[in-house]
Assembly symmetry: C2
Homo-oligomer: 195 residues x 2
């Protein structure tokens, strides 16, 4: 039953990748199905065979984005770690890499959440979960990097710095917020340590 797979979903993958590119660059509402179909060079029916609706595709794109982005971010971080930076230093250096990457337009999960408006939309719920996972990762880095045990409050504050840096980087079209956030984060950790 599961034999007839073959190359299968070659089209599906092209759809997801194309949609991710267009959705990120122009927004989920601004990009229509026809455009995705044309640029992915697939038939419209292939899209609707794999996804029940555009909303369903948006969700699939965000899931794909989370995997792809996590891998990319870890790769950036690893490079800085190998260059001698500690965990948190590598994190903020990677953040700056992201801000300076071509076509940077902020966080796709925030953007989708804003565009969809509806908090109950599956993509909105997934975005909220992604943020929780992202903050968990950040907290782990802070703990390992600073040695602080009860770093929860400090980690929450640093998470705000990071989210603010992302948004401000978009508004000001600058990567400077990454440095400002890093310095403030170090100050907060130094203060937490003294206690």
């Amino acid at each position: 039953m599961s034999k007839t797979r073959a190359k299968s979903s070659d089209a599906r993958q092209r759809i997801v990748e194309t949609a991710e590119r267009l959705f990120y660059a122009e927004g989920v509402r601004a990009v229509g199905i026809d455009r995705i179909v044309a640029e992915a060079e697939v038939a419209k029916m292939s899209l609707y065979n794999h996804f029940s609706s555009k909303d369903d595709l948006i969700l699939a794109v965000l899931q794909y984005r989370e995997e792809k982005f996590s891998a990319l971010f870890e790769q950036w971080m690893r490079r800085h770690t190998e260059a001698g930076l500690d965990g948190l230093g590598a994190f903020f250096a990677a953040l700056q890499d992201w801000f300076e990457s071509p076509g940077f337009r902020g966080c796709m999960f925030i953007n989708s959440r804003v565009e969809l408006a509806d908090a109950g939309h599956p993509a909105s719920k997934f975005s909220a979960c992604h943020k929780a996972r992202f903050h968990q990762m950040l907290r782990t880095i802070i703990q390992e990097s600073s040695g602080i045990k009860a770093a929860e409050l400090t980690a929450s504050a640093i998470a705000l710095l990071v989210e603010g840096a992302i948004v401000t980087a978009v508004m000001e079209q600058s990567s400077k917020p990454a440095e400002v956030a890093r310095d403030a984060a170090l100050a907060l950790i130094a203060r937490a340590k003294r206690k």
Copy 2:
């Protein structure tokens, strides 16, 4: 020549207020002209007599929003100042009031910037300017409240905390980020003072 004014622009005001409400609640792309016209109870031609296009209306709405929101925020702050809080304390208390206000859906300027995608759109440029003005106001509060002269870097960091709190309040549907941001801001100021 300027006599024939009368009540005039009674319709214009209704259009702007209705558009602001709908744009904020559902997004500038999600709300169509027909909807605004219907809910404002004006003729479509009245809208196009006052505004050359939807983009033009969006810009006018953001200008109106800035005035209205500034007044509302100052009012919130004043109440907390009168209750004994200092400038920065009142600011963060007002921020929390905002997060808890019915229909809160984040910062309209960020949201519009995200939805429009185009950094060159007049509304995007205006939003960037609004942020600059907002941060200037925040810096003044910090300087007066802390007595720090060269508070630029600290103010930038606190601005990131505030922007992050706004976004996170939307994502988590919670007003807690206001408190986290306030505590971190106080820590950053305390550190700046020690230097």
